[in-house]
Amino acid sequence: MNNLIEFLKNNFHYFLFAVLLVLCLLLMGKSMSYSHYKFARVCQAVTGPVQKSWSEMVHTFSLGKENEDLVQQNIALMREHDNMFIVKEDTTLTRMSETDSLHRQRMRLYDYTFAHVIFKTTDQAYNYIVLDKGGKDGICKDMAVTSPSGVVGVVSDVSDHFAAVIPILHPDSRISAQVSPINQVGTVVWEGPDPRVAYLENIPQHLEINIGDSVLTSGYSNIFPKGLLIGTVKEVMVGKNASFLTIKIKLATDFSRLGLVYLIENQYKTELDSLKAGFKTE
């Protein structure tokens, strides 16, 4: 008996080794016994929260890249939107066109790109915005500028690497707009010092405008595609000029938080403008 105890004492580490080895093999086993499952659950409960908070922390470093990817995806989706195209039933447009599922000819009228705001003012009488892309990146004068939430303004000046934008918050800015349900066309102007509010002009007094109606771009200016959100009607007043309403609109774009903007180019702008110039001279 003593010998046996002595033997066990001297070789205890071998037994421990064997027991632990078997334990490892059991843990590795693919068999889904209840105890195995429960142990795995306990491990998960211990390590899960730690790993989650760690991966969240690491994730913040890759947010920039992820954001860029999302912007690219957004642009790809927006480029396919209907208001980017002129759709024709006949087949006279054979060049620069693609057919959709109904075999109509689609001609791309607008194209998208993006830029970041590097300088802006919102509290002046004449506000402006500077973007980090310029002529070398394909930006040109009179391109439309929108934010993810709504219309921002129009490119007024372009250098090699930068572009200046006249936002809605500028007395010279005039954007052709229409009120959503009745589709009456007017003009959005900005007068006040408040960067959240603009006015919609040239809406005749007999029309019924409700508070909360959407104000969208009309697409008549050859700068903005049709149907981009400018803002919502906030207040309707009978103006000093008796024939028109004065409509206060709440702008959709929050200019104080402007970071990323989309630029929209009308690919046939010069052609369309030359037609318009013809009207003026007559």
Partner: protein, 171 residues
């Protein structure tokens, strides 16, 4: 006592580094260094063998819990701890065994340290990789992974040893 605390701290630090940094390194898509092996290699050799086995098992199990491979690292560490005393005895044969408890470059010569680190990380990586793939299919790729992991791990461990336990220090 001081030695015990420094050992425990070393274990904690290396396991945290292993779990949060080294496990996310995927050199060439598959080479992941096992930095926590350093803590096991620096464990005093005169500890009771059963304690050494137990420490190895627990260390491996903690790492396993974070990689969702229960048992794999635990088994590899256990075997490493099992082999280690024999390896040390073998490497020490014919030499004075003075300072056997410090397995660091200042006390052991370069050849000794290199053999010790490379052999044990090879054993560890062979076990981890084979158990993880758990098949002999695609053996060429498996052996490549083992080779890369061993080279990477031993390189890292040797660097750590020579940086943090420089030869001149008088432990």
């Amino acid at each position: 006592m001081n030695n015990v605390i420094s050992n425990i701290l070393r274990f904690l630090l290396l396991i945290v580094l292993q779990v949060f940094v080294c496990n996310h390194i995927n050199l060439f898509g598959f080479a992941t260094p096992a930095l926590y092996l350093l803590a096991l290699l620096l464990l005093p050799i005169e500890l009771p063998l059963s304690a050494q086995y137990f420490i190895g098992f627990i260390t491996g199990l903690v790492v396993d819990m974070f990689t969702h491979t229960l048992g794999v690292n635990a088994l590899a560490c256990l075997v490493v701890m099992f082999v280690r005393p024999y390896l040390v005895k073998r490497l020490d044969s014919g030499k004075s065994t003075e300072g056997i408890n410090r397995l660091v470059p200042g006390i052991k010569d370069t050849k000794w340290i290199f053999f010790y680190v490379i052999l044990l990380s090879l054993i560890h990586q062979v076990l981890v990789t084979m158990l993880e793939t758990s098949s002999f299919a695609n053996f060429g790729h498996t052996s490549l992974v083992i080779l890369c992991n061993t080279v990477f791990t031993s390189f890292l461990l040797l660097c750590c040893l020579y940086i943090f336990y420089p030869a001149k220090s008088k432990y």
